[in-house]
Amino acid sequence: MASTVVVLEFDVLVERVDGRRMSEKADFSTQARYSLSVSLSEKDWKSDSLVLAYSIELASQPPAAKILVAGSATIRGPKNEIQAVLTPASEKVPPPIVVTIYERVYGMIYLLAGSLRVTHPLPNLLEKGP
C-alpha cells in the first residue's frame, strides 16, 4: 500500500553572530558544558509557511565563552505538519524545530568556538537544562 510522505522545507538564515571569550585561561582542552538559551517567535504565518525569528545563546560552564547566533527560519509545508515540529515530544526534549535550527547553525557555532580557542560544543542538544 502506497503511503504519502510529507516533507517540510526548512530555510535557516543567520542574521547576527556574536562570540566572546570570557576567560584568559580557557583553551581547547578545557572540558565544559554548554547551556543554551533558545527563543523563537512567530513573524509571519501563511497557509503554507511559517517564518520564525530565532535566537540561540550558548554559555559554557565553567565560564569560558559566550556565543550568540540569531536570525530567521522559514518552514514550508502543510500547516498540521508545521504545527508538529513546533511541539516537543516531551517536556524534557526541545521541539524538533529547535533541533533543526541548531543543526543548521552548528557550523557557525563550531567555527566561532574555534576562533575563540575554546572547547567546541557538541552538535546535539541533549536535554532541557535547569
Binding site: 582542552s29 513546533l86 529547535v98 560544543p121 536535554e127
Partner: protein
C-alpha cells in the same frame, strides 16, 4: 488591474494602513504605465487624436464585444477607457489613505481586529470588530544543555 470586491480582515490598524499604501502604489503604477502607453500611441497616430480613440468594427459575441477589423485603434480605445477608469481609483484610494489618520484617532479597543470592505477595488468601509479575537502568535523559549567534545578533554 485590481477590481476586487470583498472583505479583508486585518489584525491591526498598521496592517490596514500598509495594505492601503500598497494598493495605492499598484494603482499609481498601473495608471502611469497605461498613460505612457496611451501617450505613445497618440503620438504615433499624429493628428488623428480623438478620432482614433473611437474605433469601429466592434461586434457583440454573447455578452462581450470583439474587434477583428481594427486591432490598433481598438487597442487605443481600450487603453483610453482603462486610464479613464483608473484615475478615480487612484484619487479615491489616495483620499481614503489621507482620511485614515482621522479614523486612527477614534477610541479603538486594543483587542479589536478590522474588516475592510472594498467595492470594485476601492476601500469603502472599515469595521472595528471586537467579537473576533486575534489568533495567538507562536512563541517559545527554553534552556537546554550540551557538553563539550570528550575527545578534546582526553577522555
Amino acid at each position: 488591474m485590481d477590481t476586487f470586491s470583498g472583505v479583508l480582515r486585518f489584525y491591526s490598524l498598521q496592517e490596514v494602513r500598509k495594505y492601503l499604501k500598497e494598493l495605492l502604489e499598484v494603482y499609481e503604477k498601473e495608471y502611469d504605465e497605461s498613460s505612457n502607453k496611451m501617450g505613445l500611441l497618440l503620438r504615433e497616430e499624429g493628428d488623428k487624436g480623438m478620432e482614433v480613440i473611437m474605433s469601429k468594427g466592434w461586434t457583440k459575441a454573447g455578452s462581450m464585444f470583439v474587434n477583428i477589423e481594427d486591432p490598433e485603434k481598438s487597442k487605443m480605445e481600450v487603453f483610453f477607457q482603462f486610464v479613464t477608469e483608473m484615475k478615480p481609483k487612484v484619487t479615491e484610494t489616495e483620499e481614503v489613505l489621507k482620511s485614515f489618520d482621522r479614523g486612527e484617532a477614534l477610541p479603538i479597543p486594543e483587542e479589536a481586529t478590522f474588516l475592510l470592505y472594498l467595492r470594485r477595488g476601492i476601500p469603502e468601509r472599515l469595521i472595528v470588530d471586537t467579537s473576533t479575537p486575534r489568533p495567538e502568535k507562536f512563541s517559545f523559549s527554553g534552556q537546554f544543555i550540551t557538553v563539550s567534545d570528550p575527545a578534546a578533554a582526553g577522555n
